[in-house]
């Protein structure tokens, strides 16, 4: 039926009394997500649209059995908020915050990956299982319930392609924005593996873009490990060349990272790659038969 977020989700929103935190917590709740708590230090006892506010995530979890946290705090406090969520014991943490220092995330990531918990983001739009629950900032009207999974590094492109699918009558099981920062908690591979294990996902759309080598790694993973079919989209064929990180950057990167290299890597492993969002939806329709 879905991955990561579903009817069993019990959400605590960190930074709930901020402008964005309050707006999206309320909207997530309105969509049907079970938003059980919010956290803002010093504001315990208040509420936001009926959602009780606590001083700490641990307090919130102890009082409400929250199992999912969403981080909405400003960038320089976000790493601390993620650590706090990790220590509170929630299963899933979604970090929306954009602009977190890369070294902060490096430490958070290294710590997190040695434990059993999952982080999606930062700098991501969140996760939606259409018709069931949404955790994040996605425009919910774009999505429709169904059996196609979608995972993307880009927020707005996620909406675009989901809308193309919905317009064609193809619903989604879960849509996951993994975020575009140098260090994100979940990779394409992590999410692809979850979709592959989900009996209610028949096909996965992977939306990549230039930079890094995650799409290339995913291509190998798909060929070696997945039974669920995958259709891909890569943005950035016309993008200006990214800046090179010195000789060191050139040495690490080699020839990978361009949109063409990613497309080639995917097609070499038998993954169809659409040239524009509409064509991606058409490939999905074709593949589903």
């Amino acid at each position: 039926m879905s991955i990561l977020v579903d009817a069993s989700t019990r959400l605590v929103v960190q930074g709930i009394t901020g402008r964005e935190g309050a707006f999206h917590a309320t909207r997530n709740k309105a969509y049907g997500t079970n938003v059980v708590a919010g956290v803002t230090p010093g504001k315990a006892g208040q509420d936001v649209d009926g959602i009780p506010v606590f001083n700490t995530v641990r307090d919130a979890v102890e009082a409400t059995d929250a199992n999912t946290a969403m981080v909405f705090v400003p960038p320089r406090f976000a790493a601390d908020a993620i650590y706090e969520a990790i220590e509170s014991g929630v299963d899933l943490i979604t970090c929306i915050t954009e602009g977190i220092p890369a070294h902060d995330m490096l430490r958070v990531y290294t710590h997190l990956r040695r434990g059993p918990q999952t982080l999606v983001g930062p700098n991501c739009p969140g996760v939606i299982s259409p018709g069931i629950a949404t955790v994040g900032i996605m425009p919910t009207q774009v999505f429709t319930p169904g059996r196609v999974g979608l995972v993307s590094r880009s927020g707005t492109l996620t909406y675009q392609i989901s809308k193309e699918l919905s317009d064609m009558g193809i619903g989604q099981s879960t849509v996951v924005g993994i975020g575009g920062d140098p260090v994100v908690g979940s990779s394409f591979i992590d999410i692809l593996a979850r979709f592959d294990a989900d009996p209610d996902t028949d096909l996965v759309v992977m939306v990549g873009e230039i930079g890094g080598a995650e799409e290339e790694k995913a291509a190998d993973f798909i060929a070696e490990n997945m039974t669920t079919p995958v259709v891909a989209y890569i943005a950035g064929f016309q993008a200006p060349p990214g800046k090179q990180m010195g000789h060191a950057g050139a040495i690490i990167t080699g020839s990978s990272g361009t949109a063409q290299a990613k497309k080639d890597a995917l097609e070499a492993q038998g993954v169809r790659v659409g040239t524009n969002p509409t064509e991606v939806a058409e490939l999905v329709r074709e593949r589903l038969g």
């Binding site: 954009e98 602009g99 070294h103 490096l106 290294t110 900032i137 016309q238 990180m245 000789h247």
Partner: protein, 382 residues
């Protein structure tokens, strides 16, 4: 944020990494004075953020202050691959015995710092990496336990650093790593790291990139922000917080979110057009951002048509529409503008355009049709 060599060397000095004595100069006279203070033979180095300045004549040795002044006069104002030289760095000349290469990179793929060291330093390190990889020692470091003494030893032995220099090279690596962490660097590269004829190890160049998200917590870098070699539109965009890169086409593009904007460029190209730019007004674009973005776009007179492609999430379409109208009113633009609005408050946004926009603004319902229309309009206007 990329730093100039002289800024990198200033940071190196604060980390205890040996660098030659030196000073910045912006006029030939300052260069002479600096050379006098430093004394002896000096090197005059163009400060530009682009490789190959040596071959381009941007680095000259001066035997005395007269020569330093003359070299500075020649180098200041020089155009090196599109970068105009506004500053030179005058530093004491070094007697080079060996040239090594040392760097630490934020490796996104492995999600660890990557330390590289080679005894085959100098300008051809990429060539070394490609053809003689065994001469470039590479080591990833656990971010939580950090760089250990044994890492330094392993790198030094495997890079074939001369025995006499091992202790100092390892010390440089340790300090480089400490600086990489404490300064929130994405890259710290020393090429060459030299062994002098009298046995000292010195950083002769410095290539440093700081994480843009971290600059706020490094007040010591506030003065590094200014940059002299940008396109005027790029500078305007940066100052106003939108991401803009100029390209050489005629279809101006404004979108929200890097992925969607890149996709828009691709779709324009597939429709036979040529994008004039990459402009991401940001994931949470508000009316003001749209005004700024349009100002930047319209200041480029090669733009023949404009494609505004917005998919609202945090961004709300009605706010974008209001911003668009405000900007058009203020700027009085008459070129054809194709607007596509989807997502949060899309109906309100489309209604604002339909009710109040001037006649050069047309609305398309899909991204694909909007792109095709913008390409057609650009061709008509050309």
């Amino acid at each position: 944020m990329d730093l100039y060599e002289y800024q990198g060397k200033q940071l190196f000095a604060t980390q205890g990494i040996p660098v030659p004595a030196g000073e910045v100069a912006v006029t030939p006279e300052e260069a002479r004075a600096a050379a006098e203070r430093i004394g002896g033979k000096v090197v005059v180095k163009a400060q530009v953020q682009v490789g190959g300045r040596g071959k381009a004549g941007g680095i000259k040795v001066a035997e005395n202050p007269d020569e330093a002044e003359a070299h500075a006069r020649a180098i200041l104002g020089m155009d090196i691959k599109g970068h105009v030289v506004h500053q030179v760095w005058i530093e004491a000349a070094s007697d080079i015995e060996r040239e090594y290469y040392a760097s630490i990179t934020f490796d996104r793929g492995e999600k660890k710092p990557l330390v590289m060291l080679s005894a085959a330093g100098g300008i051809d390190i990429e060539e070394v990496a490609a053809t003689r990889p065994e001469e470039l020692a590479r080591l990833h470091v656990d971010p939580l336990t950090g760089f250990q003494a044994h890492h330094g030893r392993w790198l030094a032995y495997h890079a074939n650093i001369d025995a006499v220099a091992i202790r100092d090279v390892v010390s440089v690596l340790e300090r480089l790593y400490a600086g990489f962490i404490s300064l929130d660097a994405m890259l710290m590269e020393i090429n060459p790291l030299i062994l002098t004829t009298d046995g000292r190890v010195i950083a002769l160049d410095a290539k440093v990139t700081i994480d843009g998200n971290s600059v706020g917590r490094h007040p010591e870098m506030a003065s590094f922000q200014e940059s002299g070699a940008e396109d005027p539109q790029e500078r305007m965009a940066r100052e106003r917080g939108v991401t803009y890169v100029k390209l050489d086409g005629d279809v101006g593009i404004l979108g929200n979110g890097a992925g969607l904007v890149m996709s828009t460029l691709d779709v324009v190209a597939l429709a036979g057009g040529r994008p004039a730019n990459f402009l991401d007004a940001g994931g949470g674009s508000k009316a003001d951002d749209v005004v700024t973005a349009l100002e930047v776009l319209l200041s480029d007179d090669k733009v023949k048509s404009l494609l505004v492609n917005i998919f609202g999430g945090i961004t709300r379409c009605d706010e974008v529409a209001e911003g668009l109208l405000t900007a058009l009113e203020r700027l009085g633009a008459t070129l054809p503008i194709v607007v596509r609005l989807d997502g949060t408050n899309e109906e309100e946004g489309r209604k604002i355009i339909a009710d109040r926009a001037p006649s050069n603004v047309v609305v398309e319902k899909t991204m694909l049709s909007a792109a095709r229309r913008a390409v057609e309009l650009a061709k008509e206007a050309a």
